[in-house]
């Protein structure tokens, strides 16, 4: 009998053929299931947008305070053509990226230390939990006094928003690693670093990805707050500018861009993590119950 075993030892890419049978059966739906079901979710927003467009077009409303989709789109195109849009997007993205980075690094490091080491947890965790109880926006005046009104205070605020969910996620994930599986590592005499690399990291990863996504969501929330408190560029500036100059279409355009950027960045994390999480039950990918 001949048999070959390919061992993807470092990374298990391309492990899927038999691995995904259950998932494939669930994910091989009819054309209706595949396209019609997600489309169902579009009926309400698209219908409402078209209805509003129609109402304004018929002259039943001026659409001055609630501009129709076409006018929002026009505004977007205008902003894009002048290069304004790109400048604002870059400014906002840079802030989110920086704040997210610092927040994730701090949250991961402190969460890991608290999770791994009981003494550090008893020392550190009560303080962090107490700080967490403070609404993050309450820091704004202090950050402005300490760090000035420009980029630093904005990035700091975003980092604070990102920090807590990441910290909690990492801490909780480490604490909930199955003791029985850790014991397997002990039985095979794994060293401390090997235990972290081969048991703890993979065990913690699913919860960590969730924590990153929650953190990113908060990062987007806080960038708006940061830009509302005074900025000369950024999507938040577009919001304030639209309000002060009475341009609701510009506000809506900025909101649309926020929605797209938030979704895309979240999706990037999901895609980056997917190959590492293929071993998990594919229930979510099958769309759950019919």
């Amino acid at each position: 009998m001949t048999m070959s075993v390919e061992l993807p030892l470092e990374q298990n890419e391309a492990t899927a053929p038999q691995a995904g049978t259950a998932a494939q059966e669930g994910a091989r739906p009819t054309a209706l299931r595949r396209y019609a079901r997600p489309a169902l979710g579009l009926v309400l927003p698209v219908g409402a947008a078209l209805a509003w467009e129609l109402i304004v077009w018929l002259g039943l409303s001026s659409g001055r305070l609630v501009p129709p989709p076409s006018r929002v789109f026009e505004t977007l195109v205008e902003l894009a053509r002048s290069g304004e849009l790109l400048r604002h997007i870059v400014a906002t993205l840079t802030r989110v990226a920086l704040g997210f980075n610092f927040g994730v690094i701090a949250g991961t490091v402190l969460g890991a230390i608290s999770g791994y080491w009981g003494l550090a947890r008893r020392l550190l965790d009560p303080t962090v939990q107490a700080l967490r109880a403070i609404p993050s926006l309450a820091w704004v005046p202090l950050f402005i006094l300490w760090l000035g009104i420009f980029e630093t205070s904005k990035v700091a605020l975003i980092a604070v928003g990102v920090f807590f969910p990441v910290y909690l996620g990492v801490l909780g994930a480490i604490l909930s690693v199955d003791r029985k599986i850790v014991e397997v590592g002990r039985a095979f005499r794994l060293s401390g670093p090997a235990m972290i690399r081969r048991i703890l990291l993979p065990a913690v990863l699913p919860a960590y990805v969730v924590a990153l996504r929650v953190g990113l969501g908060l990062g987007w929330m806080f960038v708006v707050a940061a830009e509302l408190m005074g900025a000369s560029e950024g999507l938040g500036y577009l919001l304030v500018d639209g309000q002060q100059l009475g341009k609701p279409a510009q506000i809506l355009a900025a909101i649309v861009v926020f929605a797209i950027l938030g979704k895309v960045t979240d999706w990037l994390i999901e895609i980056a993590a997917a190959p590492l999480l293929r071993w998990q039950d594919a229930f979510g990918r099958q769309g759950g119950a019919p």
């Binding site: 061992l7 038999q18 691995a19 049978t21 002990r186 039985a187 095979f188 005499r189 993979p202 071993w279």
Partner: protein
């Protein structure tokens, strides 16, 4: 030879789980450890494995003291405890990280064939049945070729058919390299079917009560009268270990009395 010398274990909470347990187990011998719940049989096994060292006494393997997990000692738990993020093949190779890749690959391939899961090499653990998962766990413990394999009620979570299947399978695998097996169980038939010697323990604190040699050839016929005799013998010893002296009158055991099954 695996020598247990006056092993005792008192947990930090004051529970006295094991007392003065001594036994000498020869290379290649299969020893079954049986006893009522709370008799310290799992404590004993964990002490031998080095995962949870004894508080008094010594464990020595070929004159080397065992105080921590040892490369020559493998352990199989009640649950398979496979790592869900590794494929079946990777799980089997988990304890082989020191070997060159080629040799590792070959040993895993051989083990997969040997436990009848060659077609599941790339499957995830969640796709396996309980019996298949436990076979992977057995393969994982055996590929590093340990001298001693400890088994902590390895089949108790399986249904009766699968359990019998795996018992036979274990003997089959054991015959390949003939490691020493120390098997903790609460199943009298399992002990008699597998072991050369059955150590009956008595509870509170756990002590050795009686050692019974199972002088039956292999393969063993579970329907043979002699097999039943040994079963009865072990059962009687168990009953006596729990101060229930007459096997026919178990109905009299009052509430609150320990039950060995």
């Amino acid at each position: 030879m695996l020598a247990l010398n006056k092993l005792g274990k008192t947990y930090p909470n004051g529970v006295h789980a094991l007392e003065q347990f001594s036994a000498e187990i020869n290379l290649g011998e299969i020893v079954g450890i049986i006893g009522g719940s709370g008799c310290g049989k799992s404590t004993l096994l964990r002490a031998v494995s080095g995962l949870d060292p004894a508080t008094s006494g010594t464990v020595t393997l070929d004159d080397a003291a065992i105080r921590a997990p040892h490369p020559k000692i493998g352990i199989i738990f009640q649950e398979p405890r496979l790592l869900p993020w590794l494929s079946v093949a990777e799980n089997i190779g988990f304890g082989l990280s020191d070997l060159p890749t080629d040799e590792k690959r070959e040993r895993i391939a051989r083990a997969l064939v040997r436990v009848g899961l060659a077609d599941k090499a790339r499957a995830w653990p969640r796709e396996l049945s309980g019996g298949q998962a436990q076979r992977v766990a057995i393969a994982r413990a055996l590929v590093p070729q340990p001298e001693v394999l400890l088994l902590d009620e390895p089949f108790s979570a399986l249904d009766a058919f699968t359990r019998r299947d795996l018992q036979d399978h274990l003997l089959d695998l054991w015959a390949d390299t003939r490691p020493t097996l120390v098997l903790v169980t609460h199943d009298v038939e399992e002990a008699v079917a597998l072991a050369d010697r059955v150590l009956v323990m008595r509870p509170r604190p756990g002590r050795l009560f009686e050692a019974i040699n199972i002088n039956l050839g292999r393969p063993r016929d579970r329907n043979a009268p002699l097999f039943d005799d040994f079963k009865r013998h072990v059962l009687t010893a168990l009953d006596r270990s729990l101060d229930r002296n007459v096997p026919g009158r178990q109905a009299e055991s009052g509430p609150g009395q320990a039950m060995w099954w």
